[in-house]
């Protein structure tokens, strides 16, 4: 099975010598769903920014889908992200002046590859986007509404649709349910994982809530893999 | 392939050069408008002419032209004195060798004035300083001794003098 994420001897510091990340080895297989837990300030955001290709590690290697990100230029990393990664923030995922539908379609705007995958399925990007939104519980009129007029829960669902449109190989969700109340949280996670499974998307779900571990294949504590915060090095 | 391209280019250049030569105008100066060997009558001080205006006029009119210039394409620099104009440009003017109506200097005689017609017009901004006028110059013949012989020109282009 191909690895979705492979990290080797990663050492990363924002400034000076103080290492934020020191990960000897970590691997996630394709199709796995991983819950990554760690308190704030433990280097979670840093790890995500490296995985998303926003920042580059000077020491060690970060490979996504067998591609080493440090080998790619800034533009290529942006393209890589567009082609292969779906990203969900904790909140404010959407451009407030675009409709829900248009926000979802942003997914294919910067990635011809994803557009292609969509059309290969026999539908237009718009049709598929509407389908996703429907599955996520948004009515037709809500789909046309400006994102600013939707509730937080609805916005997160739209974000999920956007992250998954065009079947990217990796989904990174950074505390996507922290702003939702507990009822909605569970529904959201179930839907998200259901849609991901359809496309065999690898899911990396970051949260501080350990109780969500039940939904995922693996539960990883950041301190287990990251030596920099003084945690023990368990593979 | 490359050779024939060279041949085409040189032919084109030669053609353009010949066109240029055919339409090239001769650069002339204001002295060229006065026939050689013509000695103007002795110049008396302006005050004399102020007192004898008839003489001044006669002296003024006694300004022969160079017939050989008739029909030639020439290019001459000078200053624009507007006769007719439209909203943005001067369309008919007198081209003179100098600007200003200094009291001590008489106005240029007829063989030092060119009556220019230029339908395209010289933008007003360009007329505050010297210009190059390029076109076909002609000399007027007249029988009457009242009328003035002089130069006129149909201008092809009027450009700012650099």
């Amino acid at each position: 099975m191909a690895s979705a994420i492979e990290i080797d001897r990663l050492a990363f510091a924002w400034q000076g010598d103080q290492l934020t990340l020191d990960i000897p080895h970590w691997q996630v297989e394709a199709g796995e769903t991983v819950l990554l837990r760690g308190p704030s300030g433990s280097g979670k955001s840093t790890l995500l920014s490296l995985l998303a290709g926003i920042n580059v590690a000077k020491q060690g290697s970060v490979k996504l889908l067998e591609q080493s990100l440090s080998e790619l230029s800034g533009r290529k990393r942006d393209r890589f992200r567009a082609d292969h990664i779906g990203y969900i923030f904790q909140q404010f995922n959407l451009l407030p002046y675009l409709s829900a539908l248009d926000n979802v379609l942003l997914a294919t705007r910067f990635s011809p590859k994803r557009r292609q995958r969509v059309t290969e399925s026999g539908q237009s990007a718009e049709q598929l986007a509407i389908q996703y939104l429907q599955r996520l519980g948004l009515s037709a009129s809500q789909q046309q509404q400006a994102a600013a007029n939707l509730s937080v829960g609805q916005q997160q669902r739209v974000a999920a649709a956007r992250a998954l449109l065009g079947a990217p190989e990796l989904l990174i969700a950074d505390e996507p349910t922290s702003a939702l109340d507990s009822d909605r949280r569970d529904d959201f996670i179930k839907l998200l994982l259901e849609l991901s499974e359809q496309n065999n998307t690898t899911v990396l779900f970051v949260t501080h809530d350990a109780s969500l571990g039940q939904y995922f294949n693996r539960h990883v504590e950041l301190s287990d893999i990251n030596q920099a915060v003084g945690g023990s090095s368990h593979a | 392939m490359k050779y024939s391209l060279k041949v085409m280019m040189s032919t084109a250049l030669l053609f353009l050069a010949s066109q240029n030569m055919a339409f090239a105008s001769e650069k002339i100066g204001w002295k060229d408008l006065v026939p050689e060997g013509f000695t103007p009558p002795p110049v008396k001080p302006q005050s004399y002419y102020d007192q004898n205006p008839e003489e001044a006029e006669q002296k003024f009119l006694d300004a022969p032209v160079v017939q050989a210039l008739d029909g030639k394409k020439v290019k001459i620099p000078g200053y624009v004195v507007q006769l007719e104009g439209n909203a943005d440009a001067v369309t008919e003017f007198l081209l003179v060798p100098y600007f200003g109506a200094c009291i001590h200097v008489p106005p240029p005689p007829p063989n030092q004035i060119i009556h220019v017609k230029f339908a395209e017009g010289v933008p007003y901004e360009n007329t505050y300083d010297a210009v190059w006028v390029e076109g076909t110059i002609s000399t007027q013949r007249t029988d009457s001794d009242l009328a003035v012989t002089g130069y006129s020109m149909k201008a092809d282009s009027v450009t700012v003098y650099q």
Binding site: S49, Y97, L98, L106 | L83, E84, G85, A87, L94, P106
Partner: protein, 419 residues
């Protein structure tokens, strides 16, 4: 990209709208300066044609031109009839037309002249005067009206009018004893001719000497016996100015000098074309000053737009992060901001142009009535397009600052939530 920029701007409608209005007004001003200059120049340039010299009492060139042809300002002295006669007899002169000014009808200038005016006066491109109705005056106590004068005063051929002394709108000294018959009305020319009322020189003379037409004739007959110049019609003792056409246009420079330096009555001779040239040269200084000021005002307005764009960057950092997350590069964000700014500037410029046209259309009638200047409606001229381009380019250049900031900011922020 364009759609995105449009929607993004629409989202911040209020601040965008205020910016648009402020800058649009300043753009309209920038364009107006050019347009007014063009129109004034066009109107003035078209006013007199085919006249080689204008001769009058000693005064400034521009003053004499403005007073004699444009009826702007006044001449405070006059030219004697003898000087005029001498001038008209000069062998270089082909035709000459005397004119006398100073009276008015309801503020519209009365021009006393001869039949020669109708014959020789031309405007625009050697266009002669034409009558829309009636005939040119043939004798005393008859008048021909310009198109606007007839319209404003509501006169037709056959009506009678009273001439008032002075050029003010209301005169307390009217020549009510001498009603004048309107015998002709001229076609519109788009020049000060339209506002004028033309009468014979003799008419004015008669009115001012306080005699009726009948008495004046008797008086003239009485002189015939012992006057050397008995054949000459001595309509008046002094005139305001004379229009002169020469046999040879090249002689204009010589004649001008000749008249200016002649002994005897001090006179000024000007070449109308040359004088207009000088006028434009003088006005150019004012024009450039106005241009400079209005350009600065536009730039200030654009700086305001720049400030708003910069200020909005902070609150848009989330937007930027979202776009980065879906794969937009910092370059894309740069382009987005530039597109927004240029779009805004284009809208602003178009609004400014529209505003100018609206003003022009609504004020044209008033301007024409008051000054006789016809502000023609036409597509923007090349010069105006250049100005509009200047505004758009300025807006573009200004946008590079926030665009660059956004570029840098997005690189630094990455995907970090910054609330």
């Amino acid at each position: 990209m364009l759609k995105l920029a449009i929607k993004s701007l629409a989202n911040r409608k209020t601040s965008a709208l205020l910016t648009v209005i402020a800058i649009a007004v300043s753009v309209a001003l920038l364009l107006a300066v050019e347009r007014v200059k063009e129109q004034v120049q066009a109107n003035f340039a078209n006013t007199v044609s085919g006249t080689d010299l204008i001769v009058g009492p000693r005064s400034g060139d521009v003053q004499l031109l403005l007073a004699s042809v444009f009826h702007i300002g006044a001449l405070n002295n006059s030219m004697s009839w003898q000087s005029y006669e001498k001038l008209s007899q000069n062998r270089q002169v082909e035709w000459s037309v005397p004119i006398s000014l100073g009276d008015s009808v309801s503020g519209m200038p009365v021009v006393a002249t001869t039949a020669g005016y109708f014959q020789h006066f031309k405007y625009a491109n050697q266009q002669p005067l034409e009558l829309q109705s009636g005939v040119w005056f043939a004798e005393s106590e008859q008048a021909v009206l310009g198109a606007d004068a007839a319209e404003k005063l509501d006169f037709r051929v056959g009506d009678q009018l009273i001439i008032a002394h002075g050029t003010g709108g209301v005169s307390f000294s009217e020549h009510s004893g001498h009603p004048i018959d309107v015998v002709g009305i001229l076609n519109r020319t788009g020049t000060p001719v339209d506002q004028s009322i033309y009468v014979d020189l003799k008419t004015l003379e008669d009115i001012h000497s306080g005699e009726t037409a009948g008495e004046a004739e008797e008086h003239a007959h009485g002189h015939t016996g012992h006057d050397e110049h008995a054949d000459h019609h001595h309509p008046t003792s002094a005139i305001s100015a004379a229009l002169v056409g020469l046999k040879s246009r090249q002689m204009a420079l010589f004649m001008q000098r000749d008249i200016n330096t002649a002994d005897g009555e001090p006179l000024t001779a000007l070449m109308p074309g040359q004088t207009l040239q000088q006028l434009w040269k003088t006005l150019r200084v004012f024009e450039q000053a106005l241009n400079g000021i209005s350009a600065i005002v536009v730039i200030i307005g654009l700086l305001g737009m720049l400030t708003i764009l910069l200020a909005s960057l902070r609150e848009r950092s989330r937007e930027m992060a979202v776009l980065r997350a879906v794969g937009a590069g910092p370059g894309t964000l740069f382009t987005l901001l530039v597109t927004e700014a240029v779009l805004l500037t284009v809208v602003v410029t178009a609004s400014g142009l529209a505003l100018l046209y609206v003003l022009q259309i609504s004020l044209a009638g008033l301007i024409q009535q008051q000054t006789g200047l016809l502000f023609a409606l036409q597509w923007p001229t090349t010069a105006e397009w250049w100005r509009m381009l200047f505004v758009v380019v300025a807006g573009f250049l200004m946008s590079l600052v926030p665009a660059w900031r956004a570029y840098r900011q997005s690189l630094a922020d990455g995907l970090t939530v910054k609330i």
